[in-house]
Symmetry: D2
Subunit: 276 residues, 4 copies
């Protein structure tokens, strides 16, 4: 969960939110597209454009197995990388196991990996100590929600030399000659070194526009000074608007089936807690 | 969502539930293991044990892209089948697109597919009309939540001959000699023709036991006559109990990180609406 | 390369072969179907029918990354297992790296793996020493070309107890209670504990029949007392006979294209050394 | 098989080759790296850098299922594209089936696909007639061995407008406004719009250097005025030189095993016809 959103929920909890707010980030389509599907592609794109690294056979550690981490891992695994995961949450850790990744502490693999990717939303996940132990040419980058995941500040010390080798790519050089390849100075790789497909922008923009329209049009009293998730029916509407570009054909419930399931034929089709 | 669960929510809505109930089925670990991870394996197992079919190159239509459908599709795709999806929900349909499956109406592909699998929780998804149009040797089976998904009753008519070829496998023979291979008479393939790994049983049993303990131990008033989801912390606990069998090592938050994220170091680690 | 085939080539080399022979095993279609495609499915089937093991999250070491090993690894990786490879051949080892598998010596991982699979065609790949170091409940099986890959004889000693737990499954029990799960007494898992799809049989039988017809019909002198590979055109013919069952539509070369490529429009389409 | 190589074999066949030549292109490591493994990554890279297209859900037709086509298809499938194959060779077509791709004639899918990729080594695979039938925004590119696969000349006619939208990207505009996105004017996408990883260059350069050294050092008479494949032992040597960068550990044959297999412990490990 991103920083601004945490802050919004904290405001709300403290009773200091003075208007209703929509947590658009956690609507299903936005979440899956901006995070899972988009990062599945942008991790490859961002690494390729900056470093020309070959993925096949590379050992990679991905910190965090949320939606972003899941996307990164799926893509890297598919292209022949060997991926390790670090996690704090036992549920996500178990998912990583079932998806075929070893769950380790960062220290267990930091000496052997070729690439380190952070996707935690947390801070100081990669510390100076970790950076000191990386092998020569290790690539370090951040796909998470902030620029705090890698402790870049700790690298701004006199004994280390920084060499800008191309736009968004720095070699940080240790006294013994070891180089760590730092991308985008620890800022978001997907935004700094990759492009966002128009399809993803369309999903996001549609979701945001619908949320604003809903807040604007809602009858007095529907929304209080709190943070709301997008009504599921709107989430489904965003999805349905994007199906034709895939030539996807939805099936319609018969009256009999709708009655059997206790659903309206036009949705919403799932309970609120459904996880997709 | 299964039939008994729908019924429980309907009871609750009607004010007729006379004790608190836990919706254990929708806890994260239970849901993912019983549905996604287990079905990913049991669809292969169930088809193999009953029909010895080779998956490579087979055209398969999977009705429903919920957790069960996602599991079935991932496994079949990985083993070289060409998979089509039918869906009523635009969000799940969009997920199917992004995962590389064509979303079609059943009628568009029914003449060409080698295998039909239902995973909808709905009824009469495969009708007599569909069955009439299937090609010779088409395999039909159900991985969903009930025995209603395939309209098996419509096949019990005088002009069709049933031939039991082995346990759980019937050939239904049309007057022109066409045979449809019906598995488990339309009941659940994963329960009838496949085994459930002890690991999945352990996840399920642990979740159920913890839910009962929680309901029993909860102070008066915590739970009313309603249906509840398992508290996230217990869900995380179930997961953490199963990590050692994978030799998975969790990372612990530092005090500083926990404070930054606004989390307790021992969890729960995610907001309630988190989808995993 | 299987034992009988080695023997055939040795006979030929020694000048002791008294008739022409076709090495049908190494024709492309036979090789890919019997080995790669068939084993990709039968490793899952064989393990499931004997042990009901869940593949997700399991650590597996596969000895040998030939066609059989490649098939086993692809399937297990796809279902969420973490797979390690042992290899003697640097080319196959490099392929394993590029496909996303760590290449190790058996001793490096023998203590941690849940499943050991041999696919080498070699002997004593898994020794008593390895078996002594396996963890409790480790599953050991052979997908290779002989029953010599696992040193089963070394397990027939007084201090170990054998317990037959079901057909084709023995628990070998160490004095400290540790159990190793030995499948098919070290014989071929795919033949002993899995079925061979009719499609694979059709490929194999067609290839063998065509080879016999060719040897029988060939004009005097075309074949000497040596071992021959199936003429490529027949290999292509076997493949083309099996395409209709996938509703696959071949493209035909135009005259102009055939001339440009220096090919006959009816094949053969590849030089003899082509690897597919 | 590339144009220059065809020409070399034609020279040899015509008795006009005046020096020995090594067909380095068909050595195993070179072949797999330059074609399969490299193209698996460069198709994604080339498409992303030029068009920012999202792969998920896109319908793609790949013409040719040789090593290059196999690499492209594996990557695109893994990232959620729906891939169709065209093939002239029944063996490669059968492989495509078993790998989960529908084998079609180009005309069957040309109206519906979002991307057309040629990897055939042939000429005029994509004709003006195909181009006329593509849908708006269809991307067309070539990953094969020549610039003849797409009939680009046929697009240089007065009724079509060319618009250069960025380096290596042209929009060809039909009178009705339809645009086809042509990459690199039909030249090789992987060379024009993507980078070649240093690892691949190292494999290729090592192979070429060893071939030259072998030709130079070979005793009189070993090589005649013909085209030779690299001796397998050198191929294995190239592979073994690149294993340490993956921290891959080869297993050594015991004396007993080498004798059993009839192999030298240092290789070569496979017969010449082995396909990897």
């Amino acid at each position: 969960m991103g920083g601004r959103l945490t802050w919004l929920y904290q405001l709300s909890k403290a009773g200091k939110l003075c208007v209703p707010a929509m947590n658009v980030n956690d609507s299903v389509t936005k979440q899956k597209f901006d995070n899972l599907y988009c990062c599945r592609e942008s991790i490859l794109d961002g690494l390729k454009r900056t470093t020309d690294v070959m993925f096949g056979g590379k050992q990679v550690v991905v910190c965090g197995y949320g939606e972003v981490g899941k996307g990164c891992c799926a893509a890297l695994k598919a292209l022949g990388a060997i991926v390790y995961i670090t996690e704090i949450d036992p549920i996500c850790a178990l998912q990583a196991c079932m998806d075929g990744f070893r769950v380790v502490k960062l220290n267990e693999v930091i000496r052997q990996v070729d690439v380190v990717i952070t996707c935690t939303g947390n801070k100081n996940v990669v510390t100076r100590e970790h950076l000191d132990r990386m092998k020569n040419s290790c690539i370090v980058c951040n796909m998470g929600h902030s620029n705090t995941e890698i402790d870049v500040t700790s690298l701004r010390t006199p004994e280390l030399t920084w060499e800008r080798v191309r736009s968004q790519v720095d070699h940080v050089i240790w006294p013994d000659g070891k180089r760590v390849v730092l991308l985008a100075e620890g800022r978001l790789l997907n935004l700094s070194c990759s492009t966002v497909p128009t399809f993803v922008l369309s999903i996001t923009a549609t979701t945001q526009a619908l949320a604003l329209i809903e807040l604007y049009n809602a009858p007095e009293g529907r929304y209080k000074q709190d943070v709301y998730l997008l009504p599921k029916k709107m989430d489904e509407y965003v999805a349905s608007l994007h199906l034709p570009s895939f030539d996807a054909h939805l099936t319609e419930l018969t009256d009999d089936q709708a009655k059997y399931l206790g659903l309206n034929k036009n949705g919403p089709f799932k309970p609120n807690y459904y996880r997709y």
